[in-house]
């Protein structure tokens, strides 16, 4: 039961088999997986019904899988009482939530899956950020005028590239690992001090600035910094950016706009030819001057603001997302009744169900 719009898809035949074994009936829009190499035929073999009429699909489904948020208009076509699961960007899309509640459609925002140990198999934010970190580095390596590894050759020695990763969460760590693999000298910065050990465990150098007390919330997200801290941070940051060939920023604060970390002035001080990859561009960007889906050139320094980086490895992104959704469904699947159990007492569902029975129930969005 699904549909789609972008390179990623929310359900793979493998996952479909698992759901069907558990007793679900699944229908997909025709051509869902064809771009990624799964024909409708393969889905049919897995036991999935392939339907060409999207309206019919939506109006008959109990649960709708989706990667991105739907058009407001489409929500009307949903059956009342059905459940929509996907990324909803709930902090910025209050209107959409209202639309869901008006249409009487329940909605689960994948962003809101709590980051507990038990919920990790459904944690799509992590799984996608992870790929994002990898793709970000590959992108940077492809666009950089320098190669990443060191090479001692008869035609001279090539110094390794310096990569500076700002924000060492899931995406940042994967970026560190990937850049390190390619042989770059990797430095990383994060406000949470616990990350230091993690960075070092991947062979990166952790950069410390003295900016006073910081911390993380219970769920492992970073707390927002004070204005003074940000100022001090910027000071030292500029120096590190200056000597780096590639700067990758991944800093985000849950539910807020991404912090502006690299200012225009810092960009100006960087070497011409160097690169900035802003992985936080979708939530506002860490780099001043970064623009969504564009490459901005500032005196020879390029700022890359591509969105949806996980979508550049669509096969794996879809695979992981599909597993996340399946994990979520199966965790709350009632095998007897063969239906999804909307158990709002449960910590996980309590965290991620934003709209229920015509009401925006999640306290953050009321």
């Amino acid at each position: 039961e699904s549909d789609r719009k972008e390179t990623r898809i929310p359900l793979l035949p493998d996952s479909a088999v698992r759901l069907i074994e558990a007793g679900a009936r699944i229908r997909i829009e025709t051509g869902l997986g064809s771009d990624l190499g799964w024909s409708d035929e393969e889905y049919r073999e897995a036991g999935v019904e392939v339907v060409s009429d999207r309206t019919q699909l939506l109006s008959e489904a109990d649960i709708v899988f989706r990667v991105r948020k739907p058009d407001a208009a489409e929500i009307d076509r949903y059956r009342k009482g059905s459940l929509h699961i996907g990324f909803l960007d709930p902090f910025d899309e209050r209107a959409l939530l209202r639309k869901f509640s008006e249409a009487g459609v329940d909605a689960i925002a994948m962003e809101m899956i709590p980051r507990t140990t038990r919920a990790q198999k459904m944690d799509a934010l992590s799984s996608q950020a992870n790929l994002g970190g990898y793709v970000g580095v590959i992108l940077a390596a492809g666009m950089s005028k320098k190669i990443f590894p060191m090479m001692t050759t008869p035609s001279g020695t090539i110094a390794p590239a310096r990569v500076f990763v700002i924000g060492a969460g899931v995406a940042g760590l994967q970026a560190i690992a990937t850049a390190k693999r390619l042989g770059a000298i990797v430095e990383a910065y994060d406000t949470r001090p616990v990350v230091e050990e993690q960075v070092r465990s991947l062979g990166g150098r952790f950069v410390k600035f003295d900016i006073g007390e910081t911390g993380e919330t219970e769920q492992g997200y970073a707390r927002e910094l004070t204005e003074e801290q940000l100022a001090r941070q910027r000071e030292s940051m500029a120096k590190h950016c200056e000597k780096s060939d590639v700067v990758i920023t991944t800093a985000q604060v849950f539910g807020k706009k991404a912090p502006r970390i690299v200012t225009a002035e810092m960009v100006k001080r960087m070497k011409p030819g160097s690169l900035l990859v802003d992985l936080a561009v979708e939530s506002g960007g860490n780099v001043e001057g970064s623009r969504l889906d564009e490459v901005v050139d500032v005196n020879g320094v390029r700022i890359i603001g591509f969105s949806n980086l996980p979508g550049k490895a669509p096969l794996n992104a879809s695979q992981m997302y599909s597993n996340n959704l399946t994990g979520l469904i199966l965790e709350f699947w009632d095998k007897e009744e063969k239906r999804f159990q909307m158990n709002l007492e449960d910590e996980i569902l309590n965290g991620c169900v934003v709209v229920h029975e015509g009401e925006i129930r999640h306290e953050m969005f009321r």
Partner: protein, 460 residues
Amino acid sequence: MIEAINWFYILAAFLFALGLKQLSSPATARRGNLLSATAMLIAVGVTLFDQQIIDFRWILGGVLLGATIGLLAARLVAMTAMPEMVALLNGFGGVASLLVGWGEYVNIMDLGSFVAVATFLAVLIGGVTFSGSLIAWAKLRDFWIGNFGIGKPILFRGQQVFNSMLLLAILISGVMFALDPVQGYTPFLIVIALALLLGIMAVIPIGGADMPVVISLLNSYSGLAACAAGFVIQNNILIVAGSMVGAAGLILTSIMCKAMNRSLSNVLFSGFGSVVTAGSDRVEGEVKPISASDSYLLLEASSSVVFVPGYGLAVAQAQHAVRELSDLLENNGCEVRFAIHPVAGRMPGHMNVLLAEADVPYDQLVEMDDINPSMDSVDVCVVIGANDVVNPAAKEDEASPIYGMPIIEVERARTVIVMKRSMATGFAGIENPLFYKSNTRMLFGDAKKSLQALVAEFKQ
């Protein structure tokens, strides 16, 4: 004449020492055995020229009979029955020492006190060795064939009290004999009888699976018995060879204990323990640290090892070290796998990055779901800086915050070695009951250092 004999004895002693040394290394072991056999030939050969020997009939008879039996036994015994055979032979060595002590006493009667003590020891140790070895032999047969009922530990109430009494009785008889050997024939015979009884009592409470250790210990005893006999007849070669074997046997015994992850006292007295405090440690348990060299002995003797890496592997940057250890284990004929938990580390694929860096072949990496079913047949599971992902509370304790998370069920392996620096908790901040399980050993310290120490042990 006697001086010439003694010079040959010195040569024999030298060869024994050399042979024993060579026996303990694979490359030279065979040669070592031949050397020591040569030494034995020399020692026995020159003894025949001893002036004390006046009558060769008994000797000839004994040697012929013994050699025939020994030859047949060594030829006919099945390869699988070797350990039993060793037990039996060892018992014979013990009884021979006993008989030498006895005979010398019978011949001289009026022993000096030093010689009397030596005689007492020769008889005591020889007797214990003899009856103990016979029981060990019986237990092993049962263990392999399983129709005798003696293979299992035999325990009864008051066993400890009885044994203490027995020891006391032996001591008293011994003192009576030593104080006045001429009058002490009765206490002497009592010592013999009680020694035989003691050997039986000491071995019956021990299970058949532990017999190799027991045999090794008895082997050390028979050396000491020979040494005591040497003191009785004031003979150098007996003292040297006997005490050397006694000491070496003791070392070997402790090596074998460690390879089974047991302490010697645990082996010898576990039977008693199981009557008194059975099951009590199942509930709480205690942390049992292990040293790198003991871990080596465990790993060296195992044929299936699973490594479970966690965040600690990354922190310690121990990927290359574990790769090297795994290579060594494979060369040692051991099957090695790496079980990767999906959330091990701090980033998806964290372990993959590290193990790929160390070039661990992809086909050695096993996923959690694939390793768990075969965990029971794993000899040793080495947990390297993992904690939450091997926490049985996730399966067992509904109150645990990680309840329901699938884990790698390492506790089902025969032995678990956990490498971490302290008893600290992992990411989830919860206690790990694994560390208190009876089959878990903690190898404390930085994971890289521990692994490197193990690698070093493997290369001596």
